[in-house]
Amino acid sequence: MSDTNGTHWDEPPDEPAEDEPRGPYRVIGTPPPARTLLGEAEHASAEPVVRELPAGPDDEKKAKGAERIVATLFLVSLAASIVFIAAYVVLPVHSLDNVFRSNLALGLSMAVAFGAVAIGATIWVKVIMPHVELVEKRKPLASDREARAAFTQTFNEGAEASGFTKRPLLRRTLIAASVGLAVAPIVLLRDMGPLPGTSLRHTVWRKGMRLIVYGPNTPIRPADFAIPGQMITVVPDGYQDNQDALAKATTIIIKFGPGQLVPDTPQNYGTKMNWTVDNIVAYSKICTHVGCPVALYEETTHHILCPCHQSTFDATRGAAVTFGPAARPLPQLPLGVDAQGFLIATHDYYEPVGPSFWERG
């Protein structure tokens, strides 16, 4: 084009511009007829220019009507944009009602502002622009033999000139160096977190630590929790606001009537009776599946249900799994009573709480 020989737009390149005959629907992909943007206009040749697209609509009368509709829609959009700005300026937020009102005004005006232009433009295309169907030729994607051969030659020449193929010492040491470059930065990730160590095996529960009712934040006596069938969530005293501690230590206590709890035997899962106080049993609230809090308790069946994946545990039988994907019972927390008569833990959980992990064993 013009840049190759320094000619100006006003002087079109002197190559023959167009001598091939063209039909009304020129096949796209053949050389373009015009060599310049404006040269053609200014140096109009005698032969008539063949159009690919018609200049006017299919139906001028329909187009006229559509034009009015489209223009109206564009104005509607403009009006909606103004409403949007006005709603932003005028309508306050800072309360639930105000926020919803503001959201309604802003959202609706925004939808109209976008939607009106969208509908208008679609009508424009469908009615005002003439209907055309052009055919573009597809060339095979694979390069021809010569191009491939030329590429092969270029590639090989480069490889030879660089000596990459001829000098194995350079090649191998470069590969060795790249391995180092790739591996070395990985150590930077090491400090993203501490090593797990045995931290997943323990919770903050200690001997003598009081059970604090989650929410009211008060310790609890067995006598305060006397109606069988209740379940409440308790947390270790002093850790009420420590999320990392609660993620493992959150516990549920359930009160049973006399004789309802099934004792643990070597043959069957059951409740460790000497870890209960007055038929109150404590289990970890962290599901042994993937760690959701097992928050649902059905009094009639004594089932504890995890709302995430429906692992179901039998609260009378040491929280043994009765349904769902969890593979292990909820660990039981050994309970006791302190000098003031409040429920306490007599030890940390004896096994890791929560989901399984590789080192759990």
């Binding site: 309508l91 977190g193 493992k248």
Partner: protein, 567 residues
Amino acid sequence: MTFTEKALDSTGRFLDDRLHGAVSVRGFLRKIFPDHWSFLLGEIALYSFIILLLTGTVLTFFFQPSMTEVVYHGSYLPLRGVRMSEAYASTLNISFDVRGGLLMRQIHHWAALLFMAAIMVHMLRVFFTGAYRKPREFNWLIGIVLFTLGMLEGLFGYSLPDDLLSGTGLRITEGVIQSIPVIGTYFAYFLFGGPFPGHDIIPRLYVIHVLLIPGLLLALISAHLFFMFHQKHTQMPGKGRTNANVVGAPMYPYFMAKTGAFFLFIFAVLALLSTFAQINPIWLFGPYNPSGITAGSQPDFYMGALEGALRIMWPWEWNIAGHTLAFNVFIPALVPLGIIFTGAALWPFIERWALGDYSEHHVLDRPRNAPTRTAIGMAAITFYGVLWLEGANDVIAAQLQIPLYTLTWIARFAVILGPIIAYWVTKRICLGLQRKDAHLLAHGVESGIVRQLPSGAFVEMTRPVPGRDRAVLEYNRVNAPELPRATPEDADAVPAPETRSMLGRVRGSLNRVITEGMPLTPDGHGNGHGNGHGDGHGAPAAVTGGEPALEQDGGDGAGGEGHPPGH
């Protein structure tokens, strides 16, 4: 001088002098876009992504990705005085104290759902019409990566507000990571900066959500569009449409205006949804704490299948030599979607190997004309669908009054049996539709006119299928060469050596399954059953592999050079 001439004279000249644009941009302006409603699906995904970038940018101006505990003093009265993370407090702030903030949040969330939904349907369209075939395998693979990244991006995005629901999602994510054998515990500790929940996860997810994954998505979407542009569009079969052309309206002004309108239309729909359909009202959930949960916790829909897989699994865990293998967690987390994604990624290569079809395909298949592919696709949809529904089993159980465990048991069977039934039924339906097409071609369209012959007999008049429809019906996908057969029709012939190996037999069987009922014979007497290759009608012309061979319309003699298939 007209308006356009003036513009070209000044701006056009300025640009072309510097960028040589007259040639390349002209090609761009005249680029042909074939028209079909299903081609809009990819555009929906693209425009949702742009809207996600726009609204997401607004949200970053106000969001604080911090887990530092603060006491809330904002406008939402029920939570005043409650301790929460800065992330949650700033999300409340965006909702209640930033004008238009709630709208931006809701458009962002709705756009994310639309993005994933559009990708899914777009992928199905590409699969069922065979658009993934040569030369478009790269774009198919990029699409699978985009879908996977989209899932992660969405999960991380809805985890950021640190409300009770999103924290529960993170807890599950952590539990799943922890279950991975050998590295799980370390991975979880490094990701969360220590034990769950820690104080690092939100800032880390934030930078992944707003920088890392969007960057990858942007790069991959650009590559996706570039390939599409470079390879030109596929088109549905129709009159005058061949593998050697593209028929449609040009980019300028047609497609430009249509697609611009479509973008605005999507924006309008998302704005309407966000005005009237509340999404993720985090103020109702409260701040995250590891002891709390709400019943009916559901992830966003695109995570539903994973959730369902977790729910459906039976409690299978092994303890070996002091180590725990939590099959009940990592199998459902990795295997079902692993099967779907890996299968989808391998399918184009399996299919072309089994068919020995190494030619380019630019005209799309009608799903009925590739019954095995369509049946496999429906089986995959059923498999995914069962898992997806099971992900909401508690909600379904409550709505339909079905016992929860019964529902899970139904799903446990349905996830295996459903795909088998779907495969079989789909294949039958495809073959039936093919027969209907063949009948139409052979006997024409019923006109509803009955005539009496001089002999007294009644006949119904039919007229031939009009040209436009005929072109669609006649388009025959099978241009694949016939594979060497293990059992040649000629009993005395020696089987080709490559069919006797193990791999050769597998290939032979796959070929038989895939080609079952594929071709239509022009005279309408094609058999729905069995292999149409051997019936003498319309035996496909050989287009062979390796070399760039562009088939002609109807498969009548493309330039194969006689290489044996398998190159």
